[in-house]
């Protein structure tokens, strides 16, 4: 089956000649949860804005479910739910009225949008606010409502632009819970982010871009296989002292380590799960009293950084 989101030779040149997106090629596989990664200014949001018809491309094409966004945006976006940047809501409407409005634009009856809206507001934990006007909602509440409106028509494609950006820690946790929920649904998701641990946690696929060009795309598992070195964060009850350094370096698979705190350090490690288990035993044998031992999720970061550096 063709990829539901296809981007061909997409280019966006802003006034002044700044090339935000440069002949970008991207295919988002069906039923995948694709993380769209890149540093600030890489062209992620510009690409998403073009795909959602908020910006005009200088050249190239974005196709959704076989329909060109440039030629027929109304049909192309019919089956897309999107959260771009942090949208503002009409302050005079309640969450339920907002869903009625957006539902009506998509041909949903009031009954349909009420029933679906009730479930969605429950999912994003806004049920008790459903009849309050949005004007005084916090940023986190607005972001959750934004995700609810994106899911309203039960779209098969969901586009999220840095959904946890600007949220406080609690807001980030709440939105990440929703993202994990999305992962279980039968939908295709394209999510831009520069939070690599977030991407590694929820995404099945990843596309890395810099300076508007695609650097690499593929499944997270495949890309991580390319990165042999992993980082393991360790927390202990006793400090790692210099007399233990040589013994730690001699453990099979350990490539190096760095002290990150009085009772924490990170190990650069190469090896599979068995080797990791042996490393844990060695650490215990050193008498460190290990409290926590986990892969830091920075493997993707290693790949990301190397690709970004190569592209400069």
């Amino acid at each position: 089956m063709d990829a539901p989101i296809q981007v061909h030779g997409l280019t966006k040149v802003y006034g002044g000649g700044f090339r935000a997106v440069d002949a970008l090629e991207l295919n988002v596989p069906d039923r995948s949860f694709m993380g769209f990664l890149g540093p600030n200014g890489a062209g992620k949001t510009t690409t998403i804005k073009i795909i959602t018809n908020m910006l005009t491309a200088t050249s190239g094409e974005a196709v959704i479910n076989g329909v060109s966004v440039m030629q027929d945006p109304k049909t192309a976006l019919a089956d897309v739910g999107a959260v771009v940047e942090t949208p503002e809501f009409y302050p005079y409407l309640t969450p339920m009225e907002t869903l009625h409005y957006l539902g009506a634009l998509r041909g949903m009856t009031v009954t349909e949008s009420t029933n679906r809206g009730r479930d969605l507001l429950d999912m994003v934990k806004l049920t008790e606010w459903k009849d309050q006007r949005v004007g005084k909602f916090s940023k986190g509440m607005k972001q959750r409502l934004a995700i609810a409106q994106a899911l309203l028509p039960e779209p098969s494609i969901i586009i999220l632009d840095e959904p946890t950006s600007g949220l406080d820690p609690r807001g980030m946790v709440e939105v990440r819970d929703i993202l994990k929920h999305l992962k279980k649904m039968d939908v295709t998701v394209l999510m831009s982010s520069h939070l690599l641990n977030e991407v590694q946690e929820v995404c099945t696929d990843v596309a890395l871009i810099n300076r508007g060009k695609l650097l690499r795309s593929g499944s997270v598992a495949d890309l991580l296989d390319e990165v042999k070195a992993r980082k393991i964060d360790v927390q202990t009850r006793r400090p790692l002292t210099p007399d233990m350094f040589d013994r730690l370096r001699s453990v099979d698979g350990v490539k190096g380590f760095s002290i990150t705190g009085e009772l924490t350090f990170a190990i650069d490690f190469e090896g599979e799960e068995d080797a990791q288990a042996r490393l844990l035993i060695e650490l215990q044998n050193l008498g460190l009293l290990v409290v926590s031992f986990k892969e830091s999720g920075l493997a993707l970061e290693s790949l990301y950084m190397s690709l970004i550096m190569e592209s400069r």
């Binding site: 804005k49 999107a82 771009v84 942090t86 949208p87 998509r106 098969s156």
Partner: protein, 276 residues
């Protein structure tokens, strides 16, 4: 093969006309819940109250002819339309960009032109509602004081609707150009209240009849209450022309303003990019 959701979501998409009505409906709700409408209705009440009550309080003789009596109320309609066009049209488009609500609305399967027309219709509806309330109360007060009414007031009101439509269209055009709401509101207000009237007053110095000026055409709202309808005259002492707008020509001019302003405004809105 496309999934059931794709087909369902595409098939149930409403027509552009249905979407226009949806946008208009929720935009009217915005106006009805806004302090701006409330403020204008309070202002209408003040104008009606002062025009009605002040002569009584001062012991002045009230006009006995319904046309003369209601003319005092109709003299304020021009400024009410300027305020209505400013408040309901002056930032109608720019606010979607400045307040970032466009990020919510634009990724939906709805054309920009649909949003533009829906918003314009809602603004027009609110201006008409505002005028209906004003003319309705003015007519009731006139009936109470003179025991009669005049069909000329109805003509004046219908022309006020047309002028309101043109003024709102100008507001939409300005709103499509500006980057900030404040600038757009101020320019709309001063264009209708000062800039265009000033030009219309200066042109006769060069013996040019300002028939093409929007605010000059708006003069029909009051002038239509005069019987017979006046024609241009040379002021004998100061030796300059006093021009009066012609009803038919003014209607055509208003229609041109509506078409040009809406067409250009829609074009600019469609091209405008949602950049932070």
């Amino acid at each position: 093969m496309e999934s059931a959701n794709v087909v369902n979501n595409r098939e149930r998409l409403p027509s552009d006309l249905q979407q226009v009505m949806t946008v208009a409906k929720y935009d009217v709700l915005k106006h009805l819940r806004s302090k701006r409408l409330l403020g204008l209705l309070v202002l209408e009440g003040l104008l009606l109250g002062l025009t009605f009550g002040l002569p009584i309080a001062l012991g002045a003789d009230a006009a006995e002819d319904p046309s003369d009596y209601i003319s005092a109320f109709i003299g304020w309609v021009d400024i009410l339309i300027v305020l209505g066009a400013t408040m309901f049209a002056g930032d109608a488009i720019v606010s979607e960009f400045q307040s970032r609500t466009g990020y919510l609305l634009f990724p939906n399967p709805v054309k920009r032109s649909t949003i533009f027309i829906g918003k314009y219709l809602s603004t027009l509806g609110i201006i008409i509602l505002m005028l209906l309330v004003y003319y309705g109360i003015a007519a009731l007060l006139t009936f109470a004081m003179t025991g009669g009414g005049t069909v000329l007031a109805v003509y004046s009101m219908l022309f006020a609707f047309a002028y309101g439509a043109a003024a709102a269209a100008l507001g939409f055009l300005i709103s499509s150009i500006f980057k900030g709401s404040t600038g757009s509101l101020i320019l709309t207000f001063f264009t209708l209240l000062m800039i265009l009237p000033l030009i219309a007053q200066l042109l006769p110095i060069g013996e040019i009849k300002p028939w093409f000026m929007l605010t000059f055409c708006g003069g029909v709202i009051s002038t239509i209450m005069i019987e017979p309808y006046p024609t241009d005259v040379m002021e004998p002492i100061m030796n300059y022309w006093i021009y009066y707008p012609e009803v038919g020509l003014s209607l055509v001019v208003l229609a041109v303003y509506i078409a040009v302003c809406l067409g250009l405004g829609m074009y600019l809105f469609k091209r405008r990019e949602m950049v932070s």
